[in-house]
Symmetry: none
Subunit: 414 residues, 2 copies
């Protein structure tokens, strides 16, 4: 079964917006065993859009388009659908009511231009959009499924996860069974992880293992096909068992687990709390921890102490520690962690101080030098990291390194 | 003159790598007046790759492919070229010599597998790669130009800038010039912005205006073609002037400007400082402000006060304000903003308090209710926002709303 993904919009075709939508959909489809064969992008050009959709209908079974569903004149996806599928637009009272409610809830009168968004191609199924005004559209015709989703990434993600994937699972006969499972690691490089795994693991030829590195760590993805659901799950289970034996220390979770979610779960189970003191990450660690709904139960407070004075005032870091060792040092990180633990009366204090760049580096402490410390009832531990020259990457990696250090402190892993 | 860009590789088609290569090439081509009409991606699949190249030769004049030029077995772009253009591979002694020198300079003997990379299609022009082993390839045939570049982003960029663009400029008769300009707005919906602009703006037919919405606001993009560079710039200038008259209040910047960058520039120019107090955004606002290198000059400190007690302890919010109006209220937001301004001795204090969701909403204050306040020497202002039901979106929108409120406070815009 072949899938084609189509990205629509001048901003995509001109390169002014990087398309992250179709990669997202491709990954989600892979999880239900659907493989993307083609990806195409086209600008806000009605004729070309029609041509692209016609072509996709010839060579693919499932076609998913993103973008061009907004209320303004440059949003012409529905016009293309009307032409290709030879259907009229019909007015959906329920969609309009939803739209009006959405605007009313925000205390705004709905601009009349948004009425367009309640016009949908005849016979189409619509996929509700609970955070935006453009609903998704699905047309099933001659054994093919064509879906059109809004291009705003968060809206596309929610509709894909909550509406499109269940629709496809309900309407497609899947080609065999595939079990996809991810084990999520952090705190180790891809190549070092591969050295621990590759020489030792024994997998049947049809089971595929991939190393997927990112800021947050390296995911190990297993794809295990099988004639039956049980056979696929058995193959995957065998691979998972071996991976846990070979690299268990680095595995913090599975599939959709996030490091901040795992840490939150551990704190909740133990009825413990955490507080943060950040310099170079400047709030990103607190922001990441509180991504999790209900984090207010275990996250008590955080401070962003950029200046030396604020480290002294807010955290009680002794002035002579900063003078002797510098603001970016193990000693300062440890004093920050102990300081926030005490001030916030928390079970754990986590501190980050470093040189994110591009400026501020020295020969002794180049850009990318970051110290992270965790204070707990077991005392204070700290670690030095040497990341890259890139500010964004240094800040992102520091957040995950701090979360991992906290996870290990909670679990008392050395 | 139509251009088609093709991205090649399983990692692209499966969504595990985000394609930033073709957007880069599209932007570079736009600068010399060439428009991309189609973008296509295909996996490491020889038959599909041939099909895609055949199709591109039918509908485009210039075709540029990236990826699949490496030395390993899964790099099959040259195989596809050989089939489509019916040419043999011929050995290029000079390319091999360059390769050997490159490896020798690093003190490594060249692996024999790299010899493949000196085999190029007969009659092809090659584009030297000064940082990697895969050279670019150009084939000109029947009035069409087909180019193939390596997929490693930095190599692709250098070859595009130094080799491909000059080649195209020398070999193509260019169809005029194009001026692309973006005006960036925030604090207004796409549809409301369109109602202020669409009925009143007067644009010649060839000038295109697009509304590009995201969390941070709506970008207005103008594409103005012209017979000469001056004519294109004049058309764009005229459109920009009208947009500034119609929606100037909402425009915070142009082209690559970011809201946090614009705010940082304003603070730097005025030699002023800011401090933050966050509840529902919990560090994301501080994290966003400090994305900007050098932000330590104007960002002094931030606190994340999730609990009521921390709002009292760290910000001096009076207990009876929280008891009377609630932690999520204009009064608490204002007290937080005034508190952090004073504690940090900053020129501006910015505070965010709200219900990000999914839990914690009430009839009176549903999920998505957020209060933002800014304290300055002009006193304290606050605003209520009603965002969505989605935690991530609420937190993201709150950050941009707070930055925009700060921008307006600095500029004393009502």
């Amino acid at each position: 079964m072949d899938v084609e993904l189509i990205s629509i919009g001048d901003e995509i075709i001109t390169g002014h917006t990087i398309d992250t939508n179709t990669p997202y959909i491709a990954r989600r489809l892979a999880e239900i065993g659907l493989n993307v064969a083609y990806r195409t992008a086209v600008g806000d050009d009605l004729l070309r859009m029609e041509e692209i959709i016609h072509q996709a209908l010839k060579r693919a079974d499932v076609i998913i388009a993103t973008g061009g569903l907004g209320p303004t004149d440059d949003d012409i996806t529905k016009k293309a659908i009307v032409k290709v599928f030879k259907r009229n637009l019909v007015f959906h009272e329920d969609v309009l009511e939803d739209l009006k409610k959405r605007f009313a809830a925000r205390g705004i009168e709905m601009p009349s231009i948004n009425q367009n968004q309640a016009l949908l191609p005849q016979g189409a199924v619509y996929l509700p959009n609970r955070i935006g005004s453009a609903v998704g559209i699905v047309i099933a015709e001659e054994g093919k499924i064509f879906a059109s989703l809004p291009g705003v990434p968060r809206e596309m993600e929610i509709i894909t996860d909550e509406e499109l994937i269940p629709y496809l699972q309900a309407h497609l006969v899947m080609p065999g069974h595939i079990k996809i499972h991810k084990l999520k690691t952090t705190g180790i490089f891809e190549s070092a992880l591969a050295e621990k795994i590759a020489p030792f693991i024994k997998l049947p030829e049809h089971v595929r293992l991939a190393y997927l590195p990112s800021f947050s760590g390296v995911d190990l993805r297993i794809i295990a096909p099988g004639g039956t659901k049980e056979a696929a799950e058995k193959s995957a289970g065998n691979a998972i068992k071996q991976l846990r034996e070979l690299a268990g220390k680095y595995i913090y979770g599975e599939n959709e687990d996030t490091l901040e979610g795992v840490v939150g779960k551990l704190l909740t189970e133990r009825n413990q709390t955490v507080a943060t003191a950040e310099s170079c990450t400047a709030g990103l660690l607190a922001g990441k921890i509180t991504n999790i709904p209900g984090s207010s139960n275990y996250f008590c407070q955080g401070v962003v102490t950029y200046s030396n004075q604020s480290k002294i005032d807010l955290l009680g870091v002794p002035k002579d520690i900063i003078e002797k060792h510098g603001a970016v040092s193990a000693e300062t990180a440890e004093a920050m962690a102990a300081g926030i633990k005490e001030k916030a009366n928390a079970d754990y204090g986590v501190a980050v101080t470093g040189i994110a760049g591009p400026d501020g580096g020295t020969d002794e402490k180049p850009v990318g030098t970051v110290f992270i410390a965790v204070a707990s009832s077991n005392g204070v531990v700290s670690a030095k990291h040497s990341f890259s020259k890139d500010r964004k990457s240094n800040r992102g990696r520091s957040v995950y390194a701090a979360l991992e250090m906290l996870r290990r402190a909670i679990l008392e892993i050395k």
